[in-house]
Symmetry: C2
């Protein structure tokens, strides 16, 4: 079953069938109707491979994730899938599992399948492997920052707003000794969150105690380790801002094991608002970064690059997109019990 069968059935040429399917406006309406009818009757749909081969357009976008088993990512994948499908694109997912050598493989797979664009959702672990994508002139989307290659968009997450809201929220509850468990410093997004925290503390005239600034790694274990460190301090903090929800959840566990009650003895704020945040005990106050918004913005940017006529490059202002964040107050934050 192919386009010729349709042409025969509709009594037109294959060219007309092709034009009709591709909504070329100059097709006579009578013929077009005949064609659509034939397509329906035969339950025909075009062969994507042939189409891709001829047109040079695969209608596939690539998605490079750092680690699909991190609950942040499946939610992103879901949004990505939804947006891409709506526009008729398929999506090629690769999870590099923190293994830099797999990045090379991922890039190769993208190249082989001739993706029309790639969203790099590794939050800073970009590496030079991506040069090959840029060299192939493939549109690229990064989060926070990325190399200044030609057809590129950067999704700038507005960490500052959400984190400022978090610090203000804690300050309003009377907290002064606010700690921070940061993320892996190799990740730009960790550093930006950390900087936003420090900045907000200064804005609020809150003291920044070096001993309250501990390093985590965006894992449950890291969060638990950081928590133990903070709780063993001579003068422990009354509140903690965590660089992500996994860290905060690890902290919650360690606190519970140490018989420290949240939020009575300690207030906790996470970041990301993963699904699980609402189901831990107590439900986590956290800064929401919408995965759906991130995904939609990424797909939108890729589309606009992929579909831009080669001569008319997308305007400069379309090359940065801001992603909002918002404090979501649940039950892990409360009034400071200390004077």
């Amino acid at each position: 079953m192919d386009i010729r069968d349709v042409a025969r059935s509709a009594k037109v040429s294959v060219a007309t069938v092709s034009r009709t399917m591709n909504l070329v406006p100059t097709v006579d309406e009578k013929l077009s109707r005949r064609v659509w009818q034939a397509i329906e009757e035969l339950n025909f749909y075009p062969n994507t491979q042939a189409r891709a081969l001829k047109s040079g357009r695969s209608r596939i976008f690539g998605l490079i994730l750092s680690e699909i088993t991190n609950p942040f990512f499946p939610e992103l994948v879901q949004g990505f899938e939804e947006s891409a499908i709506k526009d008729g694109y398929e999506i090629l997912i690769t999870s590099i599992s923190h293994d830099h050598s797999r990045m090379e493989l991922a890039v190769r797979r993208m190249l082989e399948r001739k993706v029309e664009g790639v969203a790099v959702m590794t939050f800073g672990v970009e590496l030079p492997y991506l040069d090959r994508l840029a060299a192939a002139d493939i549109p690229l989307v990064f989060v926070d920052d990325g190399p200044p290659v030609p057809r590129r968009t950067i999704l700038q997450v507005d960490y500052a707003t959400g984190i400022r809201q978090g610090v203000q929220h804690l300050a309003a509850l009377g907290h002064q000794r606010i700690a921070c468990i940061s993320g892996p410093p190799q990740q730009l997004s960790s550093r930006l969150r950390y900087d936003a925290f420090l900045e907000s503390m200064r804005e609020m005239d809150l003291p920044i105690e070096p001993e309250l600034l501990v390093k985590g790694d965006h894992t449950l274990q890291g969060g638990a380790a950081g928590a133990r460190r903070l709780l063993s301090l001579q003068q422990p903090p009354t509140a903690v801002m965590c660089s992500n929800d996994l860290t905060a959840i690890g902290l919650l566990r360690a606190a519970s094991q140490a018989h420290v009650s949240v939020p009575r003895d300690l207030s906790v704020i996470g970041f990301d608002d993963i699904h699980l945040a609402d189901f831990v005990s107590p439900p986590l106050t956290t800064v929401r970064m919408s995965r759906a918004a991130l995904a939609e913005a990424a797909v939108g940017a890729l589309r606009s690059h992929a579909e831009a006529s080669p001569d008319r490059i997308a305007p400069e202002n379309a090359r940065f997109v801001s992603i909002p964040t918002l404090l979501t107050v649940r039950r892990s934050t409360g009034l400071c019990a200390w004077p």
Copy 2:
């Protein structure tokens, strides 16, 4: 850059290049070396679309999931990706999010991209939409059970062994009043787990109390609800087997809120052994069903179907594959405190 450039550079015909790349054994070694060298030098890799168009083989497997944000599935995806890539296949992932109408779309996407096989990982929510895949003679892999279509493999999870081990473990700890929170009865896998539980209880001569058999839905909320129900009983159970880990984790939360200590007052066993199971408090004793094994078996079955010569259909015994389960004892089970 195409196969002709390679041919020119290696001073052979395109046919030889093609044969070399496809490891046809009758290529002279001298030529083959020249070809590989040219491929290296030019950094050439074949155009997948052209290859697929000509050969009729897309080298793509489809994967239909019920819900990617359920932590069980990303782990499965990871295994699937790993196995498929190793064999040179790409993978097209669709998450139908419990929305039956999306199943139709998923099937359409599979058909359009001409996948060479589909693993249906929806644990029982198959539905007639799959007829179209079977009608297109696409190899199919199901879990537990599936329609008797031609090129099909069923992955039979050996629920009985793991669940029996769980019940025996509880019995050995002195538990008699063992409850069960089951999963959604529409899912075959829920029913099989439930049946295995009842069967094991009988084998052990343990009493099956109707009031201790409550329905869950494989979500955290469902587990919490079931827990509240069980704990409010005149005579609550001393142990609970849950149909999956999410249910067990929901139960853990509800128990903690009700000041019921696990495992002191209540022993809990989950099923699946998702990543999170090891990070809740207390770490969950659970029945492990290896996602990697499931994924590997699925990919293996799809390959053997896809690559079988049309005349030599895979042998009957290759059409059922058993997936083992194993009790993993952690900290959520302990000695029964009641006489």
